[in-house]
């Protein structure tokens, strides 16, 4: 009970944007440093470990592709949680978080698509197949872009917050349906894809660099997300101060 209230207090402490800015200022340098170190280790590992005897050099693409794909999904989850925060708890930072995450999520999804297609070309002989997994990632990408467009279309952040939160949640509920229907759609026309890499269990040889890179990318995401949230808070302050300036100019005259 007391533990619960403590956690609630911490949670609402974070709700104060000024306090968030202070915290972000302290956390960011550490986060950035850790990210750089992990990337250095991850990149070293991913280029020194041996290539797969079947896939050759291209297996190294996995070390950026898999983390990017993982982040594309995690970012949407972060946005969905933020959307819940906006609608249910009315947490003032939730909407900032959702708004800041959208471009980052779109970038990582784009990265996952591009690296996936660069991996697919030598492996499958084509840049793109309308395979269930690829297709759902592409749909996810379109959803990110739609959310960014929605955010841009409304200049009042208060109004935009609720509407885009609703859209994010609708999308989140829809993702499993999309995935399911796409899988069903594809297997209807084409035998199950043989183009999955999960055929053989991942060798520890590949596991280590993959893990390190995944953690590094995740930290990168959080660093970017916190920095983007900070930017968004600043942007809103600038907006409110400008409105205030306009009002002040009216009073003087």
């Amino acid at each position: 009970m007391s533990e619960n209230s403590l956690s609630i207090r911490k949670f609402s402490d974070l709700a104060n944007p000024t306090r968030f800015l202070g915290l972000a200022g302290r956390v960011l340098p550490w986060l950035v440093g850790l990210t750089v170190v992990l990337f250095a280790i991850g990149l070293y590992l991913s280029f020194t470990t041996e290539g797969d005897y079947q896939q050759g050099e291209t297996v190294r693409i996995m070390y950026v592709h898999v983390p990017a794909a993982w982040l594309s999904m995690m970012c949407y989850t972060v946005m969905a949680v933020s959307a819940l925060g906006t609608l249910v708890w009315r947490h003032p930072l939730a909407d900032v978080s959702a708004r800041a995450a959208a471009p980052i999520g779109a970038s990582f999804t784009f990265l996952a698509l591009v690296t996936g297609s660069l991996w697919g070309k030598p492996m499958w002989g084509t840049w793109w197949v309308w395979d269930a997994r690829l297709t759902s990632v592409f749909v996810l990408f379109l959803m990110y872009l739609g959310l960014i467009a929605l955010n841009r279309a409304m200049d009042d952040p208060g109004k935009a917050a609720k509407v885009s939160a609703i859209l994010i949640l609708v999308g989140f509920v829809n993702i499993p349906i999309i995935k399911f229907s796409v899988e069903w759609w594809n297997t209807l026309h084409q035998p199950a894809s043989v183009l999955r890499l999960g055929g053989s269990a991942i060798d520890p040889e590949f596991l280590w660099p993959l893990l390190v890179m995944a953690v590094a990318f995740t930290l990168l995401f959080f660093a970017l997300h916190i920095a983007a949230m900070r930017n968004e808070i600043w942007r809103r302050r600038v907006t409110s101060m400008r409105r205030q300036a306009a009002r002040a100019a009216g009073r003087e005259a």
Binding site: D155, R242, R243, A245, A246, R247, A249, G250, A253
Partner: protein, 215 residues
């Protein structure tokens, strides 16, 4: 050579209705004409005909005393309509500098700087704000700053002071007076007194009945 605006036997239709008929007047440099009359009497229509935005049914609008060859008198006119012709998304500065360079100056004068123009309307220091952030009165005043950034000898003003408070009203009156003093011509449609020495054209609002020019 001072310019003058000649209007001869002007009449205009909106759809099938004759709004006004056979209006004639001559305005010489430094003169102002205030067009008054009840709603729907054709004040706005007259201004739009003068601005070349509506074709006249008969009659013509001429400019005298212009040395250069001109296509249409409207090119020497500023038209301040009901709408402000400013983009909410752009800053005041971006709006004004666009109109300044797009409109250019008529021969015989030069527009003033943007910050200077905002200053003249009592709104200095906020031209970096997006236009949409301003209140209705401020927006109207910034739209008036357009009159100053690009030089036109003739100002056509449609209800210019409708959204303004008393002090802004006076400010605008001094601007109009200064424009007249520099040899400009002003035609304004208004309900309120403009606060400027002007002739008056009363529109009766009676289709087909001419207005009378009083003093």
């Amino acid at each position: 050579m001072p310019i003058s605006l000649l209007v001869e036997g002007l009449s205009a239709k909106r759809g099938e209705d004759l709004i006004f008929h056979d209006i004639s007047f001559v305005l010489t440099a430094g003169e102002a004409l205030v067009v008054t009359g009840p709603n729907g009497s054709g004040k706005s229509t007259l201004l739009r005909v003068l601005a070349g935005l509506l074709a006249a049914q008969s009659g013509r609008v001429l400019l005298d005393g212009i040395s250069s060859e001109i296509g249409h008198p409207r090119e020497f006119c500023h038209y301040l309509g009901h709408r402000n012709a400013m983009k909410r998304e752009l800053t005041v500065e971006e709006n004004l500098s666009f109109w300044k360079s797009f409109m250019g100056d008529s021969p015989g004068g030069a527009g003033i700087g943007i910050e200077e123009a905002a200053e003249a309307l009592g709104l200095g220091g906020i031209s970096h704000l997006p236009f949409g952030y301003l209140s209705a009165g401020q927006q109207r005043r910034m739209a008036m700053a357009k009159l100053l950034v690009a030089y036109r000898p003739i100002w056509l003003l449609d209800e210019p002071t409708a959204a303004l408070d008393a002090s802004a009203d006076r400010l605008f009156a001094t601007l109009v007076t200064r424009h007249l003093g520099a040899g400009g011509i002003v035609v304004a449609a208004t309900h309120q007194p403009l606060g400027v020495e002007a002739r008056e054209l009363r529109m009766t609002g009676f289709a087909g009945v001419a207005g009378e020019v009083g003093h």
